[in-house]
């Protein structure tokens, strides 16, 4: 597969090889951050420029392409593809599905986010057992995650569409309310909750800007830009990964993949992002 990035000039980062480009950009970015700090301004403008420069050649495309292959390939003990998977709009309909998730699925009698639903389809259609399907939720260097690739593919087909999460089923309402509570739940040795870092405007940790996720605009801006290719990690990251890593910083124990707390928080933020145009997989520092 040829990446668009490989044929383009990316501002100061010329792309002959993507790998080289990446590290050059990381260097350029850390230089930008230092320079901005010296000027006592936020690093956000430089990062925005950096993103704009790379947007044409987001390495997330590699994950999207691999995810599309995984979606169409006959896999698992039953040797069937995921094309019969119902992501909420009917079996096989991918486009737009992400803008409506998380949602209640009657067959599972559970509110599910995209990651959980993908695992469900791998189990029910392809006959993987659950632990096989959940084995590698997040990529780690050489060991890439099939789930993150599938997430990249599915979400990419919703790009440009408005977020449209309904709260109709009582279980959806219940999940949303739980998500709102969990967002405020403070605990652990540092007394942190999501609200510690994400309930005020214009705050930052060191030089990292913190979105206020309690406002509509804040939730919209953040939610519509995940999943994202993380330049600093060389990985595409799903929304569940974002939550997993924030809980780590919160000094909580390890968030279980596909857990109700993940789904509740995702539903809370996705619903608050309603109306905003989905624009991911994005690219982030």
């Amino acid at each position: 597969m040829i990446l668009r990035a490989e044929r383009r000039e990316l501002g100061s980062c010329r792309a002959a090889s993507l790998i080289l480009t990446q590290s050059a950009c990381v260097l350029a970015l850390s230089f930008c951050v230092t320079a901005c700090a010296l000027a006592q301004t936020s690093a956000v403008d430089e990062i925005a420029k950096y993103r704009a420069a790379l947007q044409d050649g987001n390495p997330a495309e590699l994950w999207e392409a691999r995810g599309e292959d995984l979606w169409k390939q006959k896999r698992g003990p039953k040797q069937v593809s995921l094309e019969g998977c119902d992501l909420g709009l009917g079996p096989g309909i991918v486009k737009g599905a992400y803008t409506r998730l998380p949602m209640y699925f009657a067959d599972a009698d559970r509110v599910m986010d995209l990651e959980t639903r993908l695992v469900w389809c791998m189990v029910t259609l392809q006959a993987y057992n659950e632990s096989q399907a959940k084995k590698q939720p997040f990529g780690n260097g050489e060991r890439k995650s099939d789930i993150e690739a599938l997430v990249a593919f599915v979400t990419s087909t919703s790009r440009g569409m408005p977020m449209n999460v309904a709260l109709k089923h009582p279980k959806e309402v219940e999940m949303y309310q739980a998500g709102e509570k969990i967002f405020s739940y403070r605990g652990g040795p540092h007394d942190f909750g999501c609200v510690t870092c994400h309930a005020d405007e214009g705050k930052r940790i060191r030089l990292q800007d913190l979105p206020n996720l309690t406002t509509r605009e804040g939730a919209q801006k953040a939610y519509t830009t995940w999943p994202a290719y993380r330049v600093s990690q060389g990985e595409l990251r799903s929304f569940e990964w974002r939550l997993y890593d924030c809980f780590r910083q919160q000094r909580f124990p390890e968030l279980l993949f596909g857990s109700d707390a993940s789904i509740a928080l995702t539903l809370y933020l996705a619903r608050n992002a309603n109306g905003a145009i989905f624009d991911a997989p994005a690219i982030k520092r």
Partner: protein, 205 residues
Amino acid sequence: MKSPLISATIITIGVSACVTAASNEEISSKAAAMLKSSFKANGQATLDRLDQDATQHLCSEFAGKAPPRDVAQKIEALNLATVKYPTDGNLLGDWKNGEKIAQEGRGKQFSDDPAGPVGGNCYACHQLSPQELSYGTIGPSLYQFGKLRGYGPETQRYAYGKIYNPDAYAACSNMPRFGHNGILSEQQIKDVTALLMDPASPVNR
């Protein structure tokens, strides 16, 4: 002729609202139960970290905003009673160590070495020494803290107590209770207090 229909409708709406609308307490306890089943212990980050003490529990009700005055007073009294001052009466350690502790971001995450350093990470949230440009803004600038407030024993006691347990002075602070929760040792708290209070510290230059 319409009125019976209308009142029937009102009753139906009323009843279904009663059926679907969970009380705030019910939602809170559902959320807490949900949390319990959503994590696994990882090294030092054990599951008991999900259990709240009274302060954490009360503070979770206000969605990151300040609690009403009466609740705040209760929380502050509760936390003030926990502040332990050093028995030798000396509140100021070595500001140079204090600077290192203020810089150190590691500690207490499941990804941190349990035998490794545990810092205060003060720069994550505060400006302190002017040489450090990479500072956060969750808390106020502490640049010139001692110089502006005076170096006297009362300010020393406040600074030490604040780091030990910030909720003693501002209920539901976003600042961790470093002493009360056992993040920093007494000596470490003395050292960061010196960073704020020693006239020779870069914070006050």
